[in-house]
Amino acid sequence: MGSKRQFRIWRGDETGGDLKDYTVEVNEGEVVLDVIHRLQATEAPDLACRWNCKAGKCGSCSMEINGKPRLGCMTRMSTFEESETVTVTPLRTFPVIRDLVTDVSFNYEKARETPAFAPPADVAPGDYRMQQVDVERSQEFRKCIECFLCQNVCHVIRDHEENKPAFSGPRFFIRAAELDMHPLDARTDRREYAQSDMGLGFCNITKCCTEVCPEHIKITDNGIIPMKERVVDRRYDPLVWLGNKIFRRGQVPQTSATSGHSSGAVTSGGAHGGAHAHSGGTHSHGGVHSHAGGSHDSAAERQAQQGVNWHREVPHPTAPAVDANGKLPLTELTFNRAAAPSPSGDDVTFPLPPEHLNFAHPQQDEPKH
């Protein structure tokens, strides 16, 4: 009942490697991980691959199958054509150790940097009281099996090693969201911390993480967006800017753009009587969005620098249009397409020509001497 199928599997280590062709027997009902195991037991006993439970519960066998980040144990062979060659490669975002095994320590470092649950000071063990409806929101995020597929697919770091230090990634945004929504967590600054220290602002909600999540956690809708919504009254965020651009372009009275320099120093809302915002790119720590900042070509960068008129006067940045509750009117539901919008505006394509790069100097409005 078995049939011979074609596989291409990446073999190698950090010094390099190649796709190797294998012809291997596949039986009815098998998944990709079964095929890997068969190869190990036959012609490739040293083929390296992580796995544990084989039931989609531990999140160990993450790999890229025909370019898609998947769990090997959850990818049935019946989803491929009989004649199709199945290509299996290691996760691209993390350094290769050997074959399909990558160094995922990035994620464990980020886990250690995420502040832990803070138990309420005056509640004894056994006296915790919470309603089911209140714990359910956090429980959704606690379903996470830490397969790190969301981290792997996130384009903020997928091909941008340089963003890794400042960006914790979707897995840890939902950890922050989980603690933020925990009925008894004693810390009150989870969102601000996510924004200032975890790089929440880097996320431009393309929802790739949600798409690959084997636990079907609504990472973007239920985790990241609510966190963003709640920090926007106080800080610049692409979403704010976008909401403004799409819905109320030109209709909003401009508030003053103050010098919320990208130091993360702005901590409290309301001090200046409203929201602060900058224009599109000025908040960046460099390489904000991978879509935009992806050039590794130094010549192109030099040329870009020459082409920028740093003294050009640009329109005032605008504050977001908020509703009566001080919340953004934008929801994913009202948007006219399936994916999330580009925070830079849908009429913008990348790379931007250098002459379109803008910089609004914080003091550009102050009277010149």
Partner: protein
Amino acid sequence: MTETRIERHHYDVVVIGAGGAGLRAAIEARLAGKKTAIISKSLFGKAHTVMAEGGAAAAMGNVNSRDNWQVHFRDTMRGGKFLNNFRMAELHAKEAPQRIWELETYGALFDRTKDGKISQRNFGGHEYPRLAHVGDRTGLELIRTLQQKIVSLQQEDKQEFGSYDARIRVFSETTITELLLDGDRVAGAFGYYRESGEFILFEAPAVVLATGGVGRSYKVTSNSWEYTGDGHALALRAGATLINMEFLQFHPTGMVWPPSVKGILVTESVRGDGGVLKNSEGKRFMFDYVPDVFRKQYAETEEEADRWYTDPDNNRRPPELLPRDEVARAINSEVKEGRGTPAGGVYLDIASRKSAEEIRRRLPSMYHQFKELADVDITKEPMEVGPTCHYVMGGVEVDPDSGAAYGTVRGLYAAGEVSGGMHGSNRLGGNSLSDLLVFGKRAGGHAATYTDQLTSRPAVSVAAVEAAVETALAPLQRDTGESPYQLQQDLQAVMGDLVGIIRREGELADAMRRLAELRERVAKVSAVGDRRYNPGWHLALDLRNMLVVSECTAMAALERQESRGGHTREDYPAMDPKWRRVNLVCSLDGDTVRLTHKPLPKMRPELIGLFDRAELAKYLTDEELAEFDALTEEANTDGK
């Protein structure tokens, strides 16, 4: 002198295993101020504990206030057919609630009751709703919570000492191959990083084993690859003893089709919600397998059984809900008599019994498990299920209060599935998660105390390290031996066919012979490739552990001439009160497994007084019953 590079570390307590028991032990050792290492065979947070679905049993009395530790203790002893170490069952029942509540202070979010307490669910063998749970992913919640607690301790250390790893460090993807001794004292542990193949040596006066079970010696198992009996074997080689190795729990309903999911559990709730077992002839066969002792509680006709689901007070339970061991045996004999499915199981049918909508509502995770893993729609077609090796009751013989291993070694502790005694001959669902919290904490705490009492630090001998290096490298240096994968398959075949659910003297003796042959072959195993993340080499090193543990199981199974819990002898089908008083103890004499009889500790009067005489009569010898009668009489006279 060896030229091999070995990374050296000094710790106070080394915990081998990063599942629930290991993490809880490490937390305790670190809280006691000890410098603690956690050795994890896979990545941190992937341990087999994540697979536990049902919940953690603890008599908190949140759902039924009549529940208390005495009731839990009674249920546990009954479940284990009175072979449990009573002191462990007592400590477990008493301390489980505190351990669960403690998890909430670490950030765990259990499902809630209406008044906001931790919700508790019913489960086989538990008199009251007792299992704290989070949907059907309780194990994941447990491991994540403990993992995050360790991170939180590391954050404290970072603040105090400037390094996350100052006092507690996780060595992920690291396997320990040898424990090193100084005389009879533990001096350290030797192993390798799976990623690089580099060797690593821990010098530590105390080691806690928390390595889980042995399921990979069986072909059909719900256990992950890590379950190769490492802790059992390390303990044996260090001079400790194992007990109850003949008792393995086979869960009656594992998936058998498709092959990719073979062994994965189908929860008991499918049967609780109306699912029935049928053979290939379409017959609901469980009615033919109700043993006499259960005859009174179980329905005799399909009509009565079906009425039970809606009216349990006036009807008897369907026989599909017999204890795990009975159902497993029934399925096994249907298959053996040729009435099984093509994949070698039986049908578990809920599709014809409930509406599709109801199935999806009541059994969401099972619906998804079959849909996503097997492409089977359980609302339309029956599942194919069969017994799967699930849990080993046997393990390291320990002091019940401290978790310190018996035998000749000092400084060695064990907790969780790798330790023995707590569950007797059969474990109740839900008792393993609470077991690993209760005894994880105890083992970690006592290991810490032990290091305080030492006047001198045991030293690791160079010769022992060199021997360990040589043993570890041997499979890579040989190219004449067999493939480790082939040897594992052969071992699985011996254990599955001859030391499986139903055992016979002849087959067990045959198993002993074949295991002896395998021992020769395993000694000559060879692995191709180099030391970097080489799964063939890793398996080659795990094989000798699987082999020695399998020998213990086969030998003890041959010796115990009765059927009890997770040990069924076709030639001795009944329970024998004389055998209840005996633990079979395995130890190593050189390379050879030695088996001795050891009397079970006697239950304290106030504990045995919790049971009815009628119930005890099923388990105890006449002599023990007379003693019990004398006790009750004494109590009555005292009362007057």
